[in-house]
């Protein structure tokens, strides 16, 4: 008997290949393949398969479907612990940390949740505070501390903020070389902190800075990194961070584990985690670290910084967005959306289709290959709601969609879905908004 592979279900994750005790599994062209000469029906691969693609024929009890018929569709269901995780989390007591053990540089103990606070051009990226809120939940779940890390030049004003948003400890590297963000010095500063204090989990915003410096740090540390997460969870027993992120252009969500190395590193998409409560005057422990490198150690220099003056550059911070799709039919019709945006003080954005049609520029694009937004109000005009667009806006507080197709996907995520002719509805809405806002009449 040999393990059977359902090729339509296999996602080529390779968990079975790692798990198989007799090396009978292989990935060929992204699909699990069994060597029948080697397979001894241990069934470990069957248990570890995330999509129930594997089964041992005539041994239904080994099938995960049998153990839990809903295993494939339930998210965050407790996994049968894969061997690789057991290696890390259970069989080796030294690596599973009782909450209060302090890590020693170079040792096996990794403890604590760290958030790297992004501070550039005198401003903190708000996602840093969102992550202190999320980090708090993770730290509480596994019973460890929460720390913030600030790197930059003259950063003292940021320290009380980090405490106010919930950090118990703040690590600071303050040096003129770190004045402007550059990969090399920032990666060096953060890596040496991590090596010294050995945190278990490190989070940073999935901003252009986070997504530039974290891959460099993960490579230096030779550990796993999951980019652009939208959901984080944690298993209190194994302390494995469940890092969920969109993949394949947002058409699927995947939960990634970093099974075999520490720290566990994630970048997290801005504006998907809630902003935590800010408590002024909260205090904590401050640890200052020296920055020992010299300018001659680095091979890059900043020539200048050109601030973007376009409104759209701040799309991800806009409170009201009026977005257009191909339903608008022609560039000249953009005017009706612009009038609405003007009345509301909103920002114009659009779908990839609208950008490719040349109506808008690339930095006005909302969605998977554009900007992720989370405004108070998102008004979608003539947008059908391709999944790539939805992932970029569906966490908006209130979505109003206007579309003439009652089957349009956008209507399924809208708080108010108006089915009808946008060329009549939008100007009517604009007029009504104008009337009420000018007269200060709400009802």
């Amino acid at each position: 008997m040999t393990v059977a592979v359902d090729k339509t279900k296999c996602i080529g994750c390779g968990a079975c290949v790692v798990e198989c005790p007799v090396e009978a599994m292989d990935l060929i062209d992204g699909i699990a393949v069994v060597d029948p000469k080697k397979c001894e029906d241990h069934g470990k691969c069957v248990l570890v398969c995330p999509t129930n693609a594997l089964a041992i024929p005539n041994q239904p009890l080994m099938s995960k479907e049998e153990l839990d018929p809903e295993a494939g569709s339930k998210f965050n269901l407790k996994d049968p612990l894969p061997e690789a995780v057991k290696d890390y989390a259970q069989d080796n007591d030294k690596k599973t940390i009782p909450a209060q053990v302090t890590p020693v540089a170079g040792g096996d103990v990794w403890s604590g949740v760290w958030v790297i606070i992004e501070y550039t051009n005198g401003k903190v990226a708000p996602v840093s505070w969102e992550l202190l809120g999320e980090g708090r939940k993770l730290a509480d779940a596994i019973g460890c501390g929460l720390s913030g890390v600030i790197t930059g030049n003259e950063i003292d004003s940021v320290i009380p903020e980090a405490f106010a948003y919930g950090a118990e400890k703040v690590y600071v590297v303050d040096h003129p070389i770190l004045n402007d963000y550059r990969t090399e010095p920032y990666a060096e500063a953060i890596t040496s902190l991590v090596k010294k204090y050995q945190p278990e989990i490190i989070l940073m915003g999935a901003t252009s800075m986070g997504r530039d410096v974290f891959p460099a740090i993960a490579t230096k540390l030779q550990t796993g990194l999951t980019a652009d997460c939208t959901v984080l969870g944690i298993d209190p027993e194994t302390k494995l961070l469940q890092q969920t992120r969109p993949a394949f252009g947002g058409n699927i969500m995947a939960t990634i584990l970093c099974r075999t190395s520490r720290p566990q590193m994630s970048t997290v998409r801005p504006r998907v985690m809630a902003m935590p409560e800010r408590i002024d005057g909260r205090e904590g422990e401050l640890i200052r670290e020296e920055f020992t490198l010299d300018e001659s150690d680095f091979r890059t220099k900043i020539i200048e910084f050109i601030r973007s003056d376009a409104k759209s550059a701040f799309l991800d911070k806009a409170e009201i967005i009026v977005a257009v799709g191909l339903g608008l039919a022609a560039k000249k019709n953009l005017a009706i959306a612009e009038e609405l945006a003007d009345v509301l003080g909103g920002t114009i954005a659009g779908t990839r289709g609208a950008v490719e049609a040349g109506w808008l520029t690339h930095d006005q694009q909302v969605g998977q290959s554009g900007v992720t937004v989370r405004p108070k109000v998102y008004i979608a005009i003539g947008i059908s709601g391709a999944v790539q667009h939805l992932v970029g806006m569906e966490t908006s507080d209130c979505i109003i969609a206007i579309n003439n197709d009652p089957e349009a996907s956008i209507l399924k995520v809208a708080n108010f879905g108006i089915v009808g002719d946008l060329f009549q509805i939008v100007p009517a809405m604009t007029a009504e908004f104008k009337k009420r806002l000018q007269h200060g009449v709400a009802n």
């Binding site: 494939g72 020539i303 209130c398 009802n443």
Partner: protein, 277 residues
């Protein structure tokens, strides 16, 4: 100058879906394409080669059928294409993938020093944006990510405009360096007929794990700290009120606006009350 372009063959992700019933990936009939961001990296390398002279080598990791992507890439005017293909590479995450690509680049660098490496800012199937920086770190090259413009290239340095949330950062790096590029960097050219004919007859080289004396512990599944534990369809937001405005659009619009005010979604004086959530 010696240019290297890292390129990936990817499924056209707009075609990939999850079967809502079985919760599995539907992959049949999904066409393969050159990762669009990588195509812009290749375009820039070829333009720079035409300007300053030199050669462009494409390196791609993937299954044997990725040769098709390499042949297509050759038709744009590259000089050499190498496919890194070995079963042992299967299941590599971004850390292991960067290791494999960096070993290939090291091998190239030893015989003919590399000046500039190009990669897309990310691949559209994984969207991790980690492989480029991973290669740069392992080679010890400075990394310039999210490049939208090459301002200047000299014998010893490159000056690039990088895209960030608040504006463009202009950075100069010593060569050799690695760039990951955005689509805004350039407009793609068409392949010329002579190059297309040359590419059709071209057979990319294939390097496997043995060619490169890889450390097997650092590649494939064993060299990958991260792994997928679950996949599922994106959670759908539950819908709200659907309003049919086909009959009397103007009054329906007015009613909706009224509701927005009543539920405080829009406030009469947004500057005074609105703003912060």
């Amino acid at each position: 100058m010696n240019f290297v372009v890292c390129l990936k063959q990817v499924p056209d992700t707009s075609e990939v879906r999850i079967d809502p019933v079985t919760n599995t990936l539907m992959r049949e009939g999904v066409p393969s394409i050159i990762n669009p961001y990588d195509a812009h990296g290749l375009e820039e390398a070829i333009r720079l080669k035409e300007k300053v002279g030199g050669k462009v080598t494409i390196v791609c990791m993937g299954p044997p059928q990725a040769k098709e992507a390499l042949k297509k890439a050759m038709s744009y005017g590259a000089d050499r294409a190498i496919l890194l293909s070995d079963r042992a590479f299967g299941g590599s995450d971004s850390l292991a993938t960067a290791y494999i690509l960096s070993m290939a680049l090291k091998k190239l660098h030893e015989t003919e020093p590399i000046d500039l490496v190009f990669a897309g800012k990310e691949a559209i199937d994984g969207d991790t944006a980690q492989t480029g920086p991973g290669i740069a770190q392992r080679l010890g090259f400075p990394q310039l990510t999210y490049a939208i413009k090459v301002r200047e290239l000299t014998e010893t340095s490159i000056t690039v405009e990088r895209k960030t949330e608040s504006g463009r950062q202009v950075v100069q790096a010593q060569l050799p360096a690695l760039l990951t590029v955005e689509k805004e960097l350039n407009d793609l050219s068409y392949a010329s007929l002579p190059n297309m004919m040359k590419a059709a007859a071209y057979e990319p080289e294939t390097w496997d794990a043995k060619t490169l004396l890889f450390d097997v512990k650092q590649m494939g599944l064993k060299g990958s700290p991260t792994s997928v534990s679950r996949i599922f369809a994106p959670p759908s937001r539950s819908g709200g009120e659907i309003i049919d405005a086909s009959k009397d659009p103007a009054s329906i619009a007015a009613t909706v606006v009224q509701k927005l005010f009543q539920s405080n979604v829009i406030m009469v004086n947004p500057l005074a009350k609105g703003g912060k959530r």
